[in-house]
């Protein structure tokens, strides 16, 4: 029976039309991928696309966010009281630390001035909320609700209250993508805080794990060692905690140690992070004359010496 069919598309489509479409679309896709990969011509288009899909991405997590807000506002009085007591005691401890910090910062500034080098500490920060969408289970990336409109830029360092979180990889007008230090493609220059040995920490793709694969067998590193950002490369401010060594495997047949570590930042549970600005104009290593700052090895002693 031939009723009025609201859909006028064909029942079947085959032959040359389909094959031709396949070829055209495949070539277009490859062209897009090559343009995206090499020339970065697509940067502007991608920025606008990210702005276009952001409302939908935001809407995806809205129910979860609303649930969390509701739960928070219904939190029991006793829990809020307990939180308050804990925060008050935390505050006291932090203020005690701050008292020493002020004088140390001044002293540091004086010493830096004497050496004519600028202190690369965080000067300004911006709190960005993490939008809870799962971009890719095998890459450690998050979306945040601040973009170029707020001054966010590509390569900007992101921190949380405990340590270094990651860096900005893509910036849209109102959102940005942050790659975490645990992403398998991320590497961060670090130094072992106790000895000053410099190395690189790589992500593994699991949020609670980093590896330090470039430490030689004779390195002085033990489980529990804190390692901090070294500031080489200029992306991250130096001296901020990155992680703690959890296990060291010494296999004499291998030239390098296999060291695993745990990031200090709460990569999988933080609701927000800090995007930071710092003065990164100084290029390391600095001039060979003059005293080395503490924690930096003399060039001749090699990595791992103490």
């Amino acid at each position: 029976m031939t009723t009025h069919e609201p859909d006028s598309r064909p029942l079947l489509l085959g032959g040359p039309a389909l094959g031709l479409r396949l070829i055209v679309l495949v070539i277009l896709s490859i062209g897009l991928m090559v343009a995206d990969q090499h020339q970065h011509h697509l940067a502007v288009i991608r920025d606008w696309l990210s702005a276009a899909v952001y409302p939908l991405q935001w809407a995806v997590q809205a129910p979860l966010a609303a649930w969390n807000t509701a739960r928070e506002s219904l939190a029991t009085r006793s829990r809020i009281d307990a939180d308050n007591v804990r925060l008050a005691s935390d505050n006291l401890v932090l203020r005690l630390k701050l008292m020493r910090f002020e004088s140390l910062a001044q002293e540091n500034q004086r010493l830096r001035a004497a050496r004519e080098s600028s202190a690369r500490v965080v000067q300004r920060s911006l709190i960005a909320e993490i939008v809870r969408v799962d971009l890719d289970p095998f890459r450690q990336r998050v979306l945040v609700n601040k973009g170029s409109r707020d001054g966010v830029f590509r390569g900007q360092a992101a921190l949380d209250a405990n340590g270094i979180f990651g860096q900005v990889t893509r910036v849209g007008p109102i959102s940005a993508e942050v790659i975490l230090i645990s992403d398998p493609e991320h590497a961060i220059p670090v130094q072992v805080n106790r000895t000053g040995a410099r190395t690189i920490a790589l992500g593994t793709g699991r949020s609670g794990q980093l590896t330090l694969p470039y430490l030689p067998q004779n390195s002085d590193v033990v489980a529990g060692d804190l390692f901090v950002s070294s500031g080489l490369g200029g992306v991250f401010p130096p001296g901020y905690p990155v992680g703690k060594v959890t296990a060291i495997e010494r296999d004499p047949s291998q030239p390098l140690l296999s060291v695993t570590a745990r990031p200090l930042a709460a990569l999988d549970s933080d609701p927000e992070l800090l995007l930071v600005w710092f003065d990164s104009t100084v290029v390391e290593p600095e001039s060979e004359s003059g005293p080395e700052p503490p924690g930096v090895l003399a060039p001749a002693s090699g990595a791992g010496g103490d």
Binding site: M1, T3, E5, P6, D7, R9, P10, L11, L12, L13, G14, L18, G19, R21, L22, L25, V26, L28, S29, I30, G31, L32, M33, A35, D36, Q37, L42, R46, L49, S50, A52, V53, L56, Q57, A59, V60, Q61, L64, R132, V133, D134, L135, D136, P137, F138, R139, R141, L143, R170, E177, P184, E185, G205, S207, D268
Partner: protein, 159 residues
């Protein structure tokens, strides 16, 4: 009287958007790994079982949207979805006559091809993910196929 269906572009667009949302909706870590590729399943259903031909442009557009959504190399999902949509469209007549289990096997093969092409593109573009767990989503997706067909058949018949 023939079964009348009403699966125009508004409904197809809505299905695609729901599939996109299901792809990025927050899940616990262990479940995230098992999450089937809902966009690929939707494209396959539209190419194999939908009452009318949907074609490759839809697959391409859905792939581009998925790329934009997940922030990966632009064009990679578009390419893989176009390829599986082409094969599915070619096999459309045969597969519609298959019993459900055999259909699921074909879907499994196509989803595997999709994932393999993505794996290959990831490698060529220098962002390889060699974690074996990435292949887990393929059988899970095939296992979801009967559910998806049931659901979408209702969507297609509903006025």
């Amino acid at each position: 009287m023939a079964r009348r269906t009403n699966l125009g572009w508004p409904r197809i667009t809505a299905m695609t958007i729901v599939a996109l949302v299901a792809t990025v909706a927050p899940l616990p870590d262990w479940l995230q790994i098992l999450r089937p590729d809902f966009v690929a399943l939707t494209v396959l259903w539209l190419c194999l079982l939908s009452p009318r031909m949907t074609g490759l442009f839809h697959a391409w557009g859905a792939g581009l949207a998925l790329d934009a959504f997940r922030g990966v190399l632009f064009g990679q999902h578009a390419l893989t979805l176009v390829v599986i949509a082409y094969i599915a469209s070619k096999l459309r007549l045969q597969i519609r006559a298959f019993p459900p289990l055999q259909q699921t096997a074909v879907v499994l093969a196509l989803l595997w091809l999709n994932e393999f092409l993505l794996f290959w593109i990831d490698g060529v573009s220098g962002h390889p993910i060699t974690d074996w767990r990435r292949w887990l989503a393929v059988p899970v997706g095939a296992a979801c196929w009967p559910l998806i067909t049931g659901l979408y058949a209702r969507v297609a018949q509903h006025r």
